[in-house]
Symmetry: C2
Subunit: 221 residues, 2 copies
DNA sequence: ATTCTAATAAATATCGATATTTTTTAGACT
DNA sequence: AGTCTAAAAAATATCGATATTTATTAGAAT
């Protein structure tokens, strides 16, 4: 592997590159919900062949970001309030579960990871919003990372992304929510480190449901 | 669509055909856990081109039945006791959740579906084991089908399949479990129809955990 | 004997072309 | 006008060939 592979954003395979780009575009709403995803168009967009595009789209069905209808192609997964609320609720349930498992199995290493990812997230607010987004996801996943159940964590990560997608879809005009997000994160961290499962869970779910309520209003429009 | 399409088992697209066949082979253990899945070999096996095979494998990644490693192909998902137990436990949690939601939202239509799928399952015991397996899954999914959360149901279906896979992997030599499965199903049905969530859940989880205990022993070998 | 390296073989990933299917369009009929 | 039907266009799905990458083998050096 050349040095370039590791430092640049360039992906190893065309399929992976297409997967990442398409995923990003769907999460950001650049490919609107429900939109038909024509191979030729994406081919042009991604400057690659039909095979990588099709394979990437097939992979994205795993993530519930793309729907595949046999013999009539792919489309960006539809979005609606019912689905949003389903995602939000299921996410709360599963994260609550994973959080409690993580805390129950707490180790010094896990604690340290929490502190670290939280710190990085705090610092990243000064930087580009994308850097913060990344750090934000990393922190939230770190909380669940000690659950001992990779499948559960996978589901949580999936639901996290789906939720972010709705945030991006809804955040059309209105300004970013003016809440003290930093304080909320701090409280979650504190409770988790203290192994206070009930408080950590309560904070976490409040954190999600507040954002959810805000987004729910946006989606009505 | 010709008449043949609807009556024969022949799939509409090569990709879907490959997907179904491969899925079946992995669930049945014909493609052993961890095994490398070489495109050329599968191409020969399924008598189709490389593209449908690759696409089918990409789709199977969703179901956690296939692992994809960039630039070095696909392999059947590994199987081990830890994963089995994780699947079993998560399945119990999620099905409990879905069952309670289903019961909470009970409708006459749902009840009737339960009765119907249960009846079909009972009848199917006389027929081929594969017919029973299909009916068994249909019954279990019908129980959860009223949860109002398609995503949750999707996860449950996924975990169901993964569990079945372990059953098939473990059932190498030993005879089929000699329990009164029919009675267990009957009890679940009865409790569900009566909207007794606690009893239904208890029955369901006992049903799963008994099978799980049995399979766990097999997997030690 | 063991590790390193170059050459070879094998397998994956990708492309471009073509067959198949679906969708659209335009004309005929009621 | 509103359907139905046939032809044309567009898009999907698939194939066969090739480029790229990884894995294997055999020989050289320590």
């Amino acid at each position: 592997m050349s040095i370039i592979d590791e430092t640049s954003g360039k992906e190893a395979s065309a399929t992976r590159g297409a997967y990442m780009t398409l995923r990003d575009m769907i999460l950001k709403g650049e490919l609107p919900a429900g939109q038909k995803l024509k191979i030729e168009r994406l081919r042009g967009l991604l400057k690659t062949g039909a095979s990588p595009v099709r394979e990437a789209l097939s992979l994205l069905t795993s993530d519930m970001l793309v729907e595949r209808i046999d013999q009539r192609g792919f489309r960006a997964a539809p979005a609606n309030k019912a689905n949003f609320e389903e995602i939000l609720e299921l996410r709360c349930t599963l994260e609550d579960l994973a959080l409690r498992k993580s805390i129950a199995a707490a180790t010094p290493q896990w604690e340290e990871q929490l502190i670290l990812t939280h710190h990085r997230m705090c610092k990243s607010v000064e930087q580009d919003i994308l850097v913060f987004e990344e750090a934000h996801k990393t922190f939230h996943m770190a909380i669940l990372a000690n659950s001992g159940s990779p499948v559960l964590e996978r589901y949580c990560a999936q639901l996290y992304d789906l939720n972010i997608r709705y945030r991006n879809l809804a955040a059309g005009g209105s300004k970013y929510q003016r809440r003290d997000i930093a304080a909320e994160h701090g409280e979650i961290l504190e409770a988790a480190v203290q192994c206070d499962a009930d408080r950590a869970s309560a904070c976490l779910l409040k954190h999600y449901r507040l954002t959810g309520k805000y987004l729910g209003r946006e989606l009505d429009a």
